[in-house]
Symmetry: C2
Amino acid sequence: MKKAALTRLNILQKAFELIYEKGYQTTSIDDILASTQVTKGAFYYHFKNKDEMGIAIINELLKPTLSSNFIEPLQNDENPIETIHNLIHHLLIENDFLKVQHGCPVSNFTQEMASWNQDFSNALNEITQLWITTMIEIIERGKLKGLIRNEVNANQVTMFVMSGYWGIRNFGKLDKNKLVYDTYLTELKYYLETLK
Amino acid sequence: MKKAALTRLNILQKAFELIYEKGYQTTSIDDILASTQVTKGAFYYHFKNKDEMGIAIINELLKPTLSSNFIEPLQNDENPIETIHNLIHHLLIENDFLKVQHGCPVSNFTQEMASWNQDFSNALNEITQLWITTMIEIIERGKLKGLIRNEVNANQVTMFVMSGYWGIRNFGKLDKNKLVYDTYLTELKYYLETLK
DNA sequence: ACAAAAACATACTATTTAGTATGTTTTTGT
DNA sequence: ACAAAAACATACTAAATAGTATGTTTTTGT
């Protein structure tokens, strides 16, 4: 990788970490410069302004991460009910990249930016839709295989599951304890079983 | 009501509106002064600093509102399944105080403040627990009445429902369309029916 | 090797921010 | 009525902020 590309990537990664911990608005460019050892000239060479960097974080960091952690685990699916439960379990429990006290980065970004910056909204919508359509697909496949009842509405189930995930991620920020994840997961399991 | 108390209440209400629309960090004290026509001297007479005002919004505005909109509707309950569905339906669809593009104030506050201000965390936890314990109670009552299966874990169900509500509120900020609420509500209804 | 462009560095600016210092006015108890 | 306290008003400050102006250094193609 070229040196300049490394600088850019370094900015995106360190900025993401800060934003994940402190929020977008409260992470200053000077914070990012201090954390990356990059100078202001370099920063503004790579990004027109702070918002352009924010969008780049979504498109160039979150999107690939989401693909490998949220989408791919769904691809090689045998049984949707197990697959979905395993995915959420993996994201909440095993995954140690995301911290309970800091929630879900996509959800955080949405909360903070969606209502007053359409560029952020669009970028976030794109990666969220990616997850939604994939989950709908595997539920539909499950219906064809007879593993899920035919009356089940795949879109509804997907929205319901995704909402729960975002919600418990946010509730975790209050509780600051992974135990709430267990509580949630147990009930999610029961719910998913009712789709049989 | 005394004049001074009115000033204080006016600050809290206008500040809440601004914060609900723009977020806590991005709402400046000067914004609040402009919106209330109150001077800085008056503001700092009533509040030691910005955070104290934020906590006061939670305790003196959100808490009572939550009581009348989230707790009381649960009190005169006959059938938990209907009551819970009606409550969430009311909050998401009929209620026109909350806007789809701005989400749930308590959820927003949690997202923005919980991880780095323990005072906010405590205040938010308190009013959230209020909702949780009430919902647990009516589920337990439903079990005694035979309206809900005995194996159902009231705490799990409550966390599951609350997560969904917070999550769909946040997803609404992305979608900016109340239709996602309908999708969610339909599936919530199916889920609640499985508790019978 | 060397010109041009890319990549980075430094110093600065204009605004915005929370908060303070120091007043004046209004209310309240006696 | 009047002193004391409560309530409010104005002008200021120091720090933080996003962004710019103007450089220097490094890389790249020929």
